[in-house]
Symmetry: C2
């Protein structure tokens, strides 16, 4: 699961026109499946300027669904770049805390939250890394009050993607702009299940399917998982009282919503001290505008004891040394190789998509909602159960068509969960 | 002087490309003349999506000038229309108070404020008038905390215009879109003095000229003004301790700024009980999306006793009956007929321009800053001096090339101020 962060990587407006059917389809999914927006509920919608066509379609659909007031908060790639190119040094420690506090206020007053993504994933890749880091840190600190009700699932919220020319060009640098854009638009359509006759019904069926998987995994109460594939032989202990989640969930305001569209994973909290063996990445990892390729890691007693990457190794080492928890797992997720995102065959450089292409593990912070007792647990409770704590949460992909996954009971029984990347009905 | 209201009439993005020189020129004026943005000062910039090209140029210039952080607040015509077309009835009493409170907070913390205008002036002219009215009232009430530091001149602020296709098409409905847009862009260039070799220097000279006019008028301490022209023979008593203003002023945070670009007027507070005679409009008045033409009014003891318009008479009567103060004057302003806005020969349907084309009077609320003692005065003090109070402030134009204006001293001496629409050096 990926959470919306404050948008510091916004993108361009203008460019190729979007298919109105795609906009309408995405808007309906965002309002009725992603958010399940309630009669009279306000909506705060962050959007890059480049995604304004979708923001407009969503606004219309939200009002049709009975929205109180829809308020856009727009970021813009040129304004972001202007800061990095022209601002004085002191600017990079500033953030619009007044705006984030206001968003938090809107959520407290009952508003739902939608984040549109479509930013150029490498917008700041040529900017001064220390300025980018400082700006991100200042922004993350200021954003905390607006993130808390999302992270704590106080309100219904969702993230959905809009095809944009900048993003498409990064994914398909060898194609002409229009062809790249069309290919991204087609991929977003397919992964959002808009190629199905009734997409809303398709999502209901998909949610039911994921819920059933979670129920079976929760009933089974596995002690650990065993991943086997080319370069991977990894045992991942699960946290005490771990809880599997996936698809739609009920927020604390009582509204069932789909925080990510698309979503294909079921995921839970591993035990921070019980991960052993080796894992090898099956896809490149896009991290803060850099690409990390061919990651391999060896774990002992939950901790990474050896890690390297054929490309981007420095970024990887830097990431793993963020804090103690950065070298331990915070999430384990199962995704079949036949998922629509995987079938699209693309690397999106965006976690909303890439984490739904393959089974994955995440370094860093765990989700408290994946522990029984959930959001009511103290930090100490979470740690006692084996939940990991860190400033980072970085997913990387280990699943493939060659991946087998077993569930291991404490007594030693083994149950086949996935074979050759696909679910086995256990 | 016009104040930025919360934007409920936003406009379109896309459309014809803007001349980069025009954008750069406007951006320099906005940052260095309009705002006089200070080193390290944050900037809150409201903009219609259609004015994003100018917003981007201003952001770059603001950072070059040492801005701390520039934060855009974007409105969008299609999102606004979507609300009027699709929202349930209860939506029209809602407003984003959380966002306006946040803007107020940013100003308290030292941010400057820039409003970009470029909206279609008739965007909502075909929408349900009662919904528009309710939405405007709800918005105005919620906007109050963010308006107070502007109206009270606590911070440096400014308004500047961006040419947009929607606005151009309303001004020049008989022209092709590109021709209309070019004509508006040319008019904005000229009225912003960007046709001068050094526009910033030209504004410094213009400000000095307006300051000199104000100083002379303030020294003269006229009891009243006498306007004579075709259809107009009006004596406008001036408030006790009235104070003439125009051009750049010093905000309470100590920063000298130009709240309106363009600005051509010098203006002061009339006496609400001492206006007598007849006045005839020399230009149509664009009011809340309606056009009111050929206004004539007769005043007795400050109050309108007879008013009619050849077109839009109902709107006029409705406006005058808003409250008791709506039928009395709150501002009188002198503008030479040779002002650049007047010379452009266009009707802009936007007060930022239209009030700078001709000498004018305004029905309704007075500016406390145009009284000696200014913003420290109580409501009672202001009323005792002759300052008017109303919920409205509507400027209408009475100046022309045929207008003569005299200043009258209490003793009966008469001084010629304007002849045939131009200043006389008194």
């Amino acid at each position: 699961m990926t959470q919306n962060s404050a948008e510091i990587f916004p993108a361009h407006d203008g460019g190729p026109a979007l298919d109105p059917d795609l906009l309408t389809g995405l808007a309906k999914l965002a309002v009725h499946v992603g958010l399940n927006l309630q009669q009279g509920q306000d909506l705060v919608m962050t959007t890059p300027a480049s995604a304004l066509p979708l923001a407009r379609a969503i606004t219309a659909e939200a009002y049709r669904a009975g929205a109180g007031l829809v308020t856009p908060i727009v970021s813009d790639r040129d304004m972001t770049l202007a800061r990095f190119h022209h601002a004085q040094d002191a600017s990079f420690d500033r953030a619009p805390d007044w705006l984030y506090d206001a968003m938090a206020k809107a959520y407290e007053n009952g508003a739902a939250r939608l984040a549109l993504v479509g930013e150029d994933p490498f917008l700041l890749s040529h900017e001064d890394a220390s300025k980018v880091g400082r700006a991100n840190r200042a922004n993350a600190a200021a954003y905390r009050p607006a993130l808390a009700p999302i992270a704590g699932f106080h309100i219904n919220w969702s993230i959905i993607a809009c095809p944009t020319p900048d993003w498409a060009q990064r994914m398909f640098p060898d194609l002409a702009p229009q062809a790249a854009f069309d290919l991204l638009a087609q991929a977003i359509r397919m992964t959002a299940r808009l190629d199905q006759p009734d997409p809303v019904a398709a999502w209901a069926a998909h949610n039911a399917h994921l819920a059933q998987r979670c129920a079976r995994l929760n009933d089974a109460r596995f002690d650990s998982l065993h991943f086997r594939g080319p370069g991977t032989d990894l045992r991942v202990g699960l946290a005490d009282g771990h809880f599997w989640q996936g698809g739609a969930s009920v927020a604390r305001n009582g509204v069932r919503c789909n925080p990510n569209i698309p979503t294909e994973e079921v995921f839970t909290t591993p035990h921070a001290a019980r991960v052993d063996g080796v894992a090898r990445a099956t896809k490149p990892l896009s991290h803060h505008g850099s690409l990390i390729e061919d990651i391999t890691m060896r774990f002992e007693n939950g901790r990474v004891v050896e890690a390297r990457a054929a490309r981007g190794d420095e970024v990887l080492q830097d990431m793993l040394s963020t804090d103690d928890g950065a070298a331990r797992l915070g999430e384990v997720a199962l995704v079949p190789h036949s998922s629509p995102v995987s079938r699209s065959g693309h690397l999106y450089f965006n976690t909303l998509f890439d984490e739904n292409a393959a089974s994955h593990i995440a370094m860093g912070q765990c989700y408290a909602s994946c522990l029984e007792g959930g959001d009511g647990l103290s930090k100490e409770d979470i740690a006692a159960r084996g939940g990991n704590e860190s400033l980072i949460h970085v997913d990387w992909m280990i699943g493939s068509a060659q991946m087998d996954v077993d569930g291991l009971h404490a007594g030693g029984d083994t149950v086949a969960l996935m074979r050759a990347g696909e679910w086995v009905d256990f």
